[in-house]
């Protein structure tokens, strides 16, 4: 089965600014794929190339087996898009925009539309210029979720939504997955990605730096360990994969590469363990490790 999205070595520059520098991204059909990266790392550029709004300078991009530039209009039957920064037509109401975008896409499900409007608590009679940012985002989300498509391209769709609406959004994406739809979710919110995504790609300065399932990625991270031992610990500082070791009498705090966990436990049980807490690695740590020092580039 062809991948829903298959991007290899994608390049795009705006003048001297390099936005994408050989990006690889593969999204299998039916999966919810998290697309993570700091501001300015090239997430939106990637999505705009996939939509055929921008032409890539180099590399290949396939969307649902087609060429996103040459076959844009045919492919757009099968996708829905939510931009990160939604601007609505000032004199159209939210309800009108939802209907219009749905019709332009080739039809929308009226009962789903009604259901989503209720779920997101949107007032559809307000004119576009009077909506707050979060409400504009809801309009675009409802328009996308109410249409019958194979692939959803969501560019930071929850920025501006309150926590309640974020929860509603998560339910909706879970529904989409159970219907077999593919979702590319660009996001900043790690808990959201952890809760929703099957696989994740982390992008930095226009390149994919990590990609895989969450458990794959967790293997690459460290578990944090706090232990109270029967006596003073021995030989921990020589152990491979142990970081930020902090020993205070019988107490030990350290971080350990997940694949080196066995070695550490063996060493600790030699002394005898009285109590112990282990924190699983969070995506946040992974994220911070890749983001660190990226401030200037974003």
């Amino acid at each position: 089965m062809t991948d829903a999205i298959d991007v290899a070595g994608l390049r795009k520059s705006y003048g001297k600014t390099v936005a994408l520098d050989g990006l690889d991204l593969t999204v299998a059909p039916g999966e919810v794929h998290g697309f993570l990266g700091p501001n300015g790392s090239g997430k939106t550029t990637t999505i705009r190339i996939l939509l055929g709004l921008l032409r890539a300078d180099g590399g290949t991009a396939r969307l649902l087996g087609g060429d996103p530039w040459a076959q844009a209009t045919e492919l757009h039957h099968r996708i829905a898009y939510v931009p990160g920064d939604v601007n609505l037509w000032p004199n159209l109401t939210g309800g009108e925009v939802i209907d219009l975008l749905g019709r332009l896409r080739g039809g929308l499900d009226v009962s789903r539309r009604a259901n989503l409007i209720k779920r997101f608590e949107l007032d559809p009679v307000v004119k576009g210029r009077a909506y707050s940012r979060g409400n504009r985002q809801k309009v675009a989300l409802i328009a996308a979720l109410a249409s019958d498509v194979e692939l959803l391209l969501l560019d930071e769709p929850t920025a501006g939504l309150d926590p309640l609406m974020e929860a509603a959004f998560r339910e909706c994406v879970a529904d989409e997955r159970s219907r077999g739809r593919t979702v590319l979710l660009s996001s900043h919110i790690l808990s959201e990605v952890e809760a929703l995504c099957d696989r994740v790609t982390i992008i930095r300065r226009g390149r994919a730096v990590e990609t895989g399932t969450l458990s794959d990625l967790r293997h690459l991270t460290r578990t944090s360990v706090d232990a109270e031992l029967a006596g003073p610990p021995r030989g921990l500082d020589q152990l491979a994969g142990v970081h930020n070791l902090d020993v205070e009498g019988n107490r030990v705090h350290c971080e350990v590469d997940t694949e080196q966990l066995d070695g550490l436990l063996r060493q600790l049980t030699i002394v005898g363990v009285r109590s112990m807490t282990c924190q699983p690695p969070t995506l946040e740590e992974l994220f911070l490790r890749h983001y660190a020092g990226d401030g200037a580039a974003s």
């Binding site: 209009t73 037509w89 004199n91 309800g95 080739g106 328009a143």
Partner: protein, 568 residues
């Protein structure tokens, strides 16, 4: 925190953002005034020649409605006649753009919110915009005064003429500040203020061109009229006979001395509107206007399902205003066509009119030879020529909505559906083209109704004038085509370049003959190739060529749009 805190910083920001725009405006004013004084010096060097010109042009309703009456026959009076109303109109336009851009437009885009959250008072942005508007007008006033004095005009008159023009600019600085509080969008604020400006020009056009017992006092209601009513270069003891014809009394004053107090009218009006704006600004919420938002439909109408329907939905109000305005404009000016008398008797004067009053007047003079009806026709042809330029502005603005859709990221969601780029582009182009043709037809219809109602023969006059209006369409479409080509091929430059090209076409139309530009330069403007209807001979060839050029430019632009990146 004072409500004006931070005004200085905002003012510097606004001046920094506008520096190029302001320089262009300054240049335009300087060029207009300089070219006028210089042109009159060359073409009508003697008092005698000017007097004869004033007698004939002062009785020509077409020229009166465009420029106003003469107050004397000195070089200064002629400069005031030629530039007073036009420069006042431009000063008003400039002021509206400046003030709305730094108040309501910033508020709407959210930029002001960013600034408003810092240590900036709630009236600071309005104050900064007002200071910038006033400053721009004053600088322009000083520069055009200096130019007039350098070219040898008396200093007092030069100062008064400039003061009248600046006064109108200040009035519209205040009115724009007021409409920026009333309208809840930049578009509506600008639209309201420009509507007032248009009405001001109409009032003085009617007041200046009506004969006998007509409502000449209308000029007094117009801030643009005030720039004329200062009688800047007038002399206290003019020979009473000048321009005192039987039919037109508007140029006949026993005492034609300068009226400095008229400037005070402008200053008072400006101050009152600024005070009103400050009052409204203090009472309303951020982001809100006086015209409250009404809820709309919860679901889209059945027809709202194509890009064209969306474009129509966005443009309909704008187009309907143009159509209504066009009809009124046509009726008013059409009804003035009746009773255009001819005092143009000597061939010498005719030549002077031909050389000075712009292409329109040149045409007019040729037509004079054909008698009374010819004169009315020539007047109507002038009106329709001006209409053509105005409708070109409509077409350019409408095509440029595509660029706004793109930069404001509303194009993306539409183009992410099965709507192709060509379909999306054409949606707005169809509205621009059909709308422009409809406005031209409606102005022709109005002129036919107005003229026919007073002179008889409504049916034939409507038919002739609708046709004459439509004859402008090919030139308008060329301007639209240029805009499409720029949008497709050079999107970042498209807005500035399209308006500059339209500006050049307007300048060529108004000043072409006066500046004695060579034929090939004038031929660059599509409006040079439009037949002078009614009255002139209709030749299809140039019209067919213009339409072909428009189609070609549009095709070029759409081809460019297909190939380029969106949103850059």
């Amino acid at each position: 925190m004072s409500s004006l805190a931070g005004t200085g910083a905002l003012l510097r920001l606004a001046a920094r953002r506008d520096r190029i725009l302001l320089a262009i405006w300054l240049y335009a004013f300087a060029a207009l005034v300089g070219a006028t004084v210089y042109g009159f010096k060359k073409i009508l060097p003697t008092a005698g020649a000017r007097e004869k010109f004033a007698v004939s042009a002062g009785h020509n309703p077409a020229l009166l409605s465009l420029y106003g009456p003469f107050y004397g026959s000195s070089l200064g009076s002629f400069t005031a006649w030629r530039d007073g109303a036009i420069a006042a109109l431009l000063a008003g336009l400039m002021s509206v753009f400046i003030v709305v851009r730094h108040t309501r437009a910033d508020e709407e885009s959210g930029r002001l919110e960013l600034v408003g959250a810092t240590a900036v008072g709630r009236h600071a942005s309005l104050a900064a915009a007002l200071v910038l508007g006033v400053g721009a007008n004053v600088v322009i006033g000083v520069v055009i005064t200096a130019i007039q004095i350098l070219l040898g005009l008396p200093a007092a008159g030069a100062i008064l003429l400039s003061a009248g023009i600046v006064g109108c600019g200040l009035v519209f600085t205040g009115i724009a500040a007021l409409t920026a509080q009333i309208g809840s969008t930049a578009r509506s604020a600008r639209g309201l203020a420009i509507g007032v400006l248009g009405a001001a020009f109409m009032f003085r056009a009617i007041g200046d061109s009506v004969s006998g017992s007509g409502p000449r006092w209308l000029t007094w209601l117009s801030p643009i009229g005030w720039a004329e009513l200062t009688r800047s270069f007038g002399q206290a003891h003019q020979p009473v006979g000048l321009g005192c014809g039987a039919s037109v009394v508007s140029v006949c004053y026993a005492d034609q001395g300068p009226r400095w107090w008229v400037v005070a009218l402008a200053l008072l009006t400006a101050a009152a509107s600024v005070a009103g704006a400050a009052l409204l600004a203090a009472r309303r919420d951020f982001g809100a206007g006086l015209v409250a938002q009404r809820p709309g439909a919860g679901t889209a109408a059945i027809w709202l399902r194509t890009p064209l329907a969306l474009a129509w939905r966005m443009q309909q109000a704008w187009l309907l205003w143009w159509l209504a305005g066009g009809l009124v404009f046509g009726v008013v000016l059409g009804s003035a066509a009746k009773g255009i008398g001819g005092l143009l008797s000597s061939a010498q004067i005719r030549r002077a009119v031909a050389r000075f009053g712009g292409q329109a007047a040149a045409r007019l003079t040729q037509e004079v030879l054909r008698g009374q009806a010819g004169l009315a026709n020539a007047y109507l042809a002038t009106i329709l020529g001006i209409t053509g330029l105005a409708v070109a502005a409509y077409a350019v603005a409408t095509v440029l909505r595509l660029r706004a859709e793109e930069t404001e990221q509303r194009a993306d969601p539409v183009l992410a559906t099965r709507t192709g780029r060509i379909g999306w582009g054409l949606s707005h182009l169809v509205i621009a083209a059909v709308g422009a043709v409809a406005i031209l037809a409606v102005v022709g219809l109005g002129a036919g109704l107005g003229y026919g109602a007073r002179a008889g023969g409504i049916g034939s006059k409507v038919a002739t004038l609708v046709g004459a209006g439509l004859a402008q369409a090919p030139a308008v479409l060329v301007l639209a085509g240029i805009t499409v080509a720029l949008f497709g091929l050079a999107p970042q430059a498209s807005v500035a370049a399209s308006w500059s090209i339209l500006g050049a076409a307007v300048l060529m139309y108004v000043l072409g003959t006066a500046l004695q530009l060579s034929h090939w330069v004038l031929d660059l403007s599509p409006f040079t190739h439009v037949p002078k209807l009614p009255g002139g001979t209709l030749s299809g060839t140039p019209l067919v060529w213009l339409v072909l050029v428009a189609v070609l430019l549009t095709a070029l632009g759409l081809a460019g749009l297909r190939r380029r990146d969106i949103g850059t």
